[in-house]
């Protein structure tokens, strides 16, 4: 079963066609990057995926069920959405209640909801802040808090809009590792981002939107290695990939960890 499927989806705002024919599917275990220039319709895809919008033609299917005639709250147990600016969703007086909100809305027993919340807070490094007021956290921690809320809300589909925007490397890697954990436990993630370095390090697959269609749907390394294609799609080759190409590393890895591993012999000699 797929966790998210777009079949020939068309979506327009009035006269402006944003998506003319978009199709792809995401299975459990996938961490998929959604790439493309500003204004190309990435946010529209994410809103369609959680039933905040509905296609004018075609079908969006979440965990085996169409979103047609369904509302975001109907899907909340199967799909969680991390907004680009999470300040607009935080409301509880302490972080623990904030994260437990999703599970409680899904009518899980309170003790179970709180346990999920504690473990999600721990996963994003916010353990010890259970009683902190969300607005007393830094902007980065508030975003991690919203990620914890999404993790606690569903084990299935995560849809994340720029989850690492403004993050430094350690925070970025924390988010990447949590997405991998989530996928490893049978979930999946669709990540909108401009950071091709993050994509190379943490995503298996990339979808690139261009002119209302999916211009690329395939493995991340094939995309990232191809400097010309990366440029045409308005992206920027990440430094690890450029090093890999410039130093003609065997197998042309693009993931940070793989590139540095491939560099070990040279660094020992040099």
């Amino acid at each position: 079963m797929t966790l998210l499927q777009f079949d020939e989806v068309r979506f327009a705002y009035g006269e402006t066609v944003v998506l003319s024919r978009v199709g792809f599917s995401i299975a459990p275990g996938d961490v998929v990057a959604l790439l493309g220039r500003n204004g190309v319709g990435k946010t529209t895809v994410t809103r369609l995926a959680v039933a905040l919008a509905h296609p004018q033609r075609g079908e969006v299917i979440v965990a085996g069920e169409t979103t047609r005639g369904r509302q975001p709250e109907d899907l909340a147990g199967r799909a969680a959405y991390l907004f680009q600016h999470p300040d607009r969703q935080l409301f509880a007086r302490r972080t623990l209640d904030e994260v437990a909100f999703g599970p409680i809305q899904a009518e899980r027993p309170r003790a179970d909801a709180l346990a999920r919340a504690r473990s999600a807070l721990h996963a994003v490094g916010l353990e010890g802040h259970e009683d902190t007021h969300p607005h007393d956290l830094s902007a980065t921690d508030r975003k991690l808090l919203a990620l914890a809320a999404a993790l606690a809300q569903t084990g299935d589909l995560l849809v994340l809009d720029e989850p690492t925007q403004g993050f430094d490397r350690p925070a970025r890697d924390l988010v990447g590792a949590r997405l991998r954990d989530h996928a490893g436990q049978g979930g999946a993630a669709l990540v909108v981002t401009h950071d091709l370095g993050f994509v190379a390090d943490w995503c298996d697959r990339a979808l690139v939107l261009h002119d209302g269609r999916v211009a690329y749907d395939g493995p991340v390394p094939d995309l990232v290695r191809d400097q010309e294609r990366v440029r045409v799609l308005g992206l920027r080759q990440p430094p690890a990939a450029r090093v890999s190409v410039a130093l003609r590393l065997a197998g042309q890895p693009v993931r940070h960890a793989e590139v540095s591993a491939a560099l070990v012999p040279r660094c020992r000699d040099g």
Binding site: R37, N38, G39, Q84, S138, T140, Q165, G166, F167, D168, R169, P170, A171, H194, L196, G197, G234, L235, R236, P238, P239, A240, R242, V243, A246, L247, H256, A257, V259, S260, A261, A262, L263, V264, R266, C267, R268, D269, G270
Partner: protein
């Protein structure tokens, strides 16, 4: 010197620990100065203190001397003298719209108009600024309908149009796609020809390409300062996770510091090996 911090400490209201500890540095006209560090190291706070927002609007307490263009921006009088000369860009562009303009063109002209310049001159500088930030095609749009990326460039254009002597930029490209971010970074040296540019960002890969000097902060303290290559390729900075990607790659591969900060430097050192 355009911006001078002399043993500056700053404590946010309600906080016991200071966020900046005895910070001293200066930034000069003609240069892009990069302020870097992990999140929470105090870079954004430094921008707010340099802008005088802390303590003037946010409260809190400052020790030491903050001097921008020979004035103290943290006092009402100092800021009044600096009006129009210090441009501040925060990473939340939607809070920085004037809310009083009808079109992007007017939004960009808002600052110069407040300074009382001639109408013709304002229209000229606004047109140039819109061109520099590639937002000319948006000129007749209602600013309230722009995307985050468009908005961030429009706000920056509005600041550029004021021809300030100081730019304080906190994550100036956080809302932008890679091409637009590259274009903004490429513009910074041009802006620095007539101004001091103090930049803080977690995107050190781009920043290292345009910065003339770098300051590295940890826990509100200045730990190292110097050329961007020296700072962002140094053992301490790279080990902390705040270095550029290329340097981090080579440190992780077991090379000895100082590390190369760009692909060309790495290639020249290891290609033959």
């Amino acid at each position: 010197m355009t911006i001078v911090f002399d043993r500056v400490s700053f404590t946010y209201p309600g906080s016991r620990e200071p966020s900046l500890h005895g910070l001293s540095f200066h930034a000069a006209r003609g240069q892009v100065t990069l302020l870097t560090g992990l999140l929470g190291a105090g870079c954004s706070t430094t921008v707010l203190v340099a802008a005088g927002v802390a303590p003037r609007l946010l409260g809190g307490s400052v020790e030491g001397d903050v001097t921008v263009l020979e004035r103290n921006p943290g006092t009402a009088e100092g800021w009044r003298d600096l009006a129009g000369r210090v441009a501040v860009l925060l990473p939340t562009p939607w809070t920085q719209l004037s809310g009083m303009t009808f079109t992007v063109a007017d939004e960009v002209a808002f600052g110069p108009a407040n300074l009382g310049w001639d109408r013709e001159e304002i229209l000229d500088v606004a047109a140039v600024a819109m061109d520099q930030l590639s937002v000319t095609h948006l000129a007749q749009r209602d600013p309230a309908t722009l995307s985050g990326g468009e908005l961030q460039r429009v706000i920056l254009a509005g600041l550029v149009a004021m021809r300030p002597d100081v730019y304080l930029l906190d994550e100036p490209t956080v809302e932008l796609d890679p091409e637009a971010a590259d274009a903004v970074y490429a513009l910074l040296p041009t802006l620095a020809k007539t101004a001091a540019v103090l930049l803080t960002t977690t995107d050190s890969d781009r920043a290292v390409e345009v910065a003339d000097s770098a300051l590295y902060l940890e826990s509100g303290q200045l730990v190292s300062a110097g050329s961007p290559c020296d700072v962002l390729g140094s053992e301490r900075v790279v080990a902390a996770g705040a270095g550029v990607s290329v340097a981090t790659l080579f440190r992780d591969a077991g090379a000895r510091g100082p590390y190369p900060v760009d692909v060309a430097a790495a290639a020249s050192r290891w290609m033959t090996a």
